[in-house]
C-alpha cells in the first residue's frame, strides 16, 4: 500500500515537472518576444496548436480519421513542429510586426482564432473537434515510473537547450539590439538598426519555441484537440508565468512556469477532494484567485520574482583609448 502511494506521488511529481518544463519552453519563447523585443503576442495558443498538430500528424500511425501514417520518429516530429511554427510565425510576423502593442495583441488573437477555426473545420486533416489521439510518446514501452521519468528527461533536455540558447542570445550583441528596440525604438533606428527585421526575428524565434512546446505537450498527453487552443490554458497562463517570474529574465520565466504550474496543479488536487458539486465550482474559484494574484503582482511587484538583470558591460571594451580620456566612451553596439 505504501509503495503504491509512493509510486503515485512519484508519478504526480514527474508529471508536474514535465508540464512545468513544457510551460517553461513556452515562457522562454514568450520572453524572447516580449521580454527581449517587446512584442505583445496574445496568440500563443495558435503557435502551440500548430506545433502540436504538426508533430502529431507526422508521428502518429495511419488512421482513416485524419491525414497521417507518416510514422516519423519523435525527434523529427519535434524539429518539424519547430520549423513549421517558425515559418508560420514568419508569415504572420511579416504581416503584423509593424503594429503597436495593443494592435499586435488584437491581431495575434485574431490569427490564433482563425487557426482554431481551421483545426476545427478541416475534419479530413485534423479529425475536427474529436482531435488526434494515440500520439506516440517516446519510451512508452518502458515500465511504469521509468517511462515517465525518461520523457521528463527529454523535456528537461529541451528546456536546457532552449534556456542556454536564449541566455546566450540575450547576452550577445543581438540581445542588446533587441532590448534597445524594446526600450527606445527610435534611437535604435537612428543608429542604423533594421528595427522591423530584428522585431521579426524575435517574433519568429518565439513562435518556433511555442510550436516546440506544443509538440511536447501533444506527445505528453498523447492527444491533441482544438480545445488545446483555448486561450486560457496556454496564452493566458504563459503570460501569467512570465509576468510573475520576471519578464526579460529567462531564469524568471522558468521559475514562473514552475511556480504557477505547481500552484495551478496543487490547487486542482485540493479541489478534486471536495464533493463533486463543489469540485466543479471550486475550479472557477481557483481561476478567479489566479486572476486576482496576477493583479496583485502587476500592481505591487511589476518586475516579477526575478527582475531582469542587464548584462554587465565590460568596462575594458569601452574604455576610452589612451590620450583621449576626456571624450565620452563610444556607444554600445
Amino acid at each position: 500500500m505504501t509503495s503504491q502511494l509512493a509510486l503515485g506521488l512519484l508519478l504526480y511529481g514527474v508529471s508536474l515537472l514535465t508540464m512545468a518544463g513544457i510551460y517553461g519552453v513556452l515562457a522562454i519563447g514568450l520572453n524572447i518576444q516580449w521580454g527581449y523585443t517587446g512584442l505583445f503576442n496574445a496568440g500563443i495558443a495558435g503557435f502551440f496548436a500548430i506545433g502540436a498538430y504538426v508533430s502529431a500528424i507526422l508521428t502518429a500511425g495511419d488512421s482513416p480519421n485524419f491525414i497521417g501514417g507518416f510514422g516519423w520518429p519523435f525527434p523529427l516530429g519535434l524539429l518539424a513542429a519547430l520549423v513549421v511554427a517558425g515559418a508560420i510565425g514568419y508569415l504572420v510576423g511579416r504581416l503584423c510586426i509593424r503594429l503597436r502593442s495593443d494592435y499586435l495583441a488584437i491581431a495575434t488573437i485574431g490569427v490564433a482564432e482563425i487557426f482554431r477555426l481551421i483545426l476545427k473545420n478541416e475534419i479530413w486533416a485534423t479529425n475536427g473537434p474529436r482531435g488526434i489521439s494515440n500520439i506516440p510518446r517516446p519510451f512508452e514501452s518502458m515500465s511504469q515510473p521509468w517511462s515517465q521519468i525518461a520523457f521528463l528527461g527529454v523535456v528537461a533536455l529541451v528546456v536546457l537547450i532552449a534556456y542556454l540558447l536564449a541566455e546566450r542570445a540575450g547576452r550577445s550583441p543581438w540581445g542588446r539590439v533587441m532590448r534597445s528596440i524594446r526600450d527606445n525604438e527610435a534611437a535604435a533606428a537612428a543608429i542604423g538598426k533594421n528595427v522591423t527585421g530584428f522585431r521579426l526575428q524575435g517574433f519568429v524565434i518565439g513562435a518556433a519555441l511555442m510550436g516546440l512546446g506544443g509538440a511536447l505537450a501533444g506527445h505528453f498527453f498523447k492527444f491533441i484537440g482544438p480545445e488545446a487552443t483555448e486561450p486560457l490554458m496556454t496564452t493566458f497562463l504563459v503570460w501569467v508565468m512570465l509576468i510573475i517570474g520576471g519578464s526579460g529574465n529567462n531564469k524568471g520565466a522558468l521559475l514562473g512556469a514552475l511556480a504557477v504550474w505547481t500552484l495551478w496543479s496543487a490547487t486542482e488536487l485540493l479541489t478534486s477532494q471536495l464533493p463533486p458539486e463543489w469540485a466543479v465550482r471550486a475550479t472557477f474559484l481557483r481561476i478567479f484567485l489566479i486572476g486576482l494574484g496576477l493583479q496583485i503582482v502587476l500592481q505591487r511587484y511589476s518586475t516579477g520574482l526575478l527582475p531582469e538583470k542587464l548584462p554587465k558591460i565590460d568596462a575594458a571594451e569601452f574604455a576610452p583609448p589612451p590620450g583621449r580620456a576626456q571624450e565620452k566612451a563610444p556607444p554600445a553596439e
Binding site: C96, L99, A105, I114, L117, F284, G291, Q299
Partner: protein, 298 residues
C-alpha cells in the same frame, strides 16, 4: 430573395446591432484611456447574467430586467476601473492590457461560479412567434425589439455626445487628452462617465444576445473579436464609426455563407466567425485608421 432577407439580412442586422453596442464602448474606452479593453466581452456576459438573475428569481420580463442589468453592470465597470485600471493610469498601456486580460478571466470565473456552465435562456420572455408580413417576410418580435431599442440608444447617445457638456468633454478628451486636461476638463469624471456608458451598452448587448439566442459563460468572449473588428473598422475612438463597423461586420458574417455563386454557401458556416477575424487582421495591416480614415493611436 425573401429567403435572403429572412435568413441572412435580418440576422446580420440583429448581430450587427449587438456588435455596434459593444464596439461603441470598446472604441470610446480606447479613445479616452488609450488601451484595448480585453475584458469587455466578459462585461457583456456579466450584463446578460445580471438580467437572468432578475428574470429567474424575481420573474421580471426580460425587457424590464434590461435597465436593472444596465445599472448593475455600469456600477461594476466603474468599480473595475477603480480597483484594477486606475493604478496604471500613468504606466505603459501594456500593464492595462494584461490587467484587463486578468479581469476578463476573473469575471468569467465568477459568472461560472455563481451560475454554473449550463446553457441558460430568458425563457419567461415569450418572443417566439414571428410576425409575417406580405405572406413571406418574417420578422420575429425579439428582432424588432433589438433593432428598435438599438436605434433609440444610438440616438440618445448622439444627443448626449453632441449636446451635453459631459459628452462634449468626452469627445474633447478622446481627440486631445493633454489639451483637454489643461483646459480644465475634469478627466477622472469623464473617465467614470465613459465606464458607465461602456458598461451599460455592454450589458445591453449581452441581454440582446441572450434574447436572440441563449446565455452561456463564453458568450461575451466569443463576441470580443468581432467587436474589436467593428471598432477598428469604424476607426478606433469614434463612436459613430463603431456603429457602422458593427453593422458591417454583423452583415459580413451572415452574408458570407449565402450561396452567392451557385447553390453552395460561399463560405462554410463553420468559418462564419472567421470572417470577422480575417477582416480585422486585414484592416489592422492595411488600413488601421478604419474605413473612414480616422486616427491611429500609437
Amino acid at each position: 430573395m425573401v429567403e435572403f432577407i429572412n435568413f441572412y439580412l435580418i440576422p446580420g442586422l440583429v448581430l450587427g446591432c449587438m456588435y455596434a453596442l459593444g464596439a461603441i464602448g470598446i472604441s470610446m474606452l480606447f479613445g479616452i484611456l488609450r488601451f484595448a479593453h480585453f475584458a469587455h466581452g466578459d462585461v457583456i456576459t456579466l450584463g446578460a447574467y445580471f438580467a437572468l438573475l432578475f428574470v429567474t428569481t424575481f420573474g421580471f420580463p426580460v425587457l424590464l430586467a434590461l435597465p436593472v442589468a444596465i445599472v448593475l453592470t455600469a456600477i461594476v465597470s466603474v468599480l473595475l476601473d477603480r480597483s484594477f485600471y486606475k493604478p496604471f493610469r500613468n504606466s505603459p498601456t501594456i500593464y492595462l492590457v494584461i490587467a484587463s486580460f486578468g479581469v476578463a478571466l476573473m469575471i468569467r470565473s465568477l459568472v461560472q461560479l455563481f451560475w454554473g456552465v449550463k446553457v441558460e435562456s430568458y425563457s419567461s420572455g415569450t418572443f417566439s412567434k414571428p410576425i409575417i408580413f406580405f405572406d413571406t417576410l418574417r420578422l420575429a418580435e425579439k428582432h424588432m425589439w433589438i433593432v428598435g431599442l438599438t436605434i433609440v440608444i444610438v440616438v440618445a447617445l448622439h444627443y448626449f455626445l453632441s449636446r451635453s457638456k459631459l459628452g462634449k468633454a468626452m469627445r474633447a478628451m478622446a481627440d486631445e487628452p493633454d489639451l483637454a486636461q489643461v483646459s480644465g476638463i475634469p478627466t477622472e469624471k469623464v473617465v467614470r462617465a465613459t465606464w458607465i456608458i461602456g458598461g451599460g451598452l455592454a450589458a445591453t448587448a449581452g441581454v440582446f444576445l441572450g434574447m436572440d439566442t441563449q446565455l452561456h459563460t463564453n458568450m461575451g468572449w466569443d463576441l470580443l473579436l468581432p467587436i474589436f473588428a467593428a471598432a477598428i473598422l469604424g476607426g478606433i475612438g469614434s463612436p459613430y464609426g463603431a456603429i457602422a463597423g458593427g453593422l458591417v461586420i454583423g452583415l459580413a458574417e451572415e452574408l458570407s455563407s449565402y450561396p452567392w455563386i451557385g447553390v453552395e454557401p460561399l463560405l462554410s458556416p463553420g468559418y462564419k466567425t472567421g470572417v470577422a477575424f480575417a477582416l480585422m487582421v486585414a484592416l489592422l495591416i492595411w488600413r488601421p485608421s478604419g474605413l473612414f480614415r480616422g486616427r491611429v493611436f500609437t
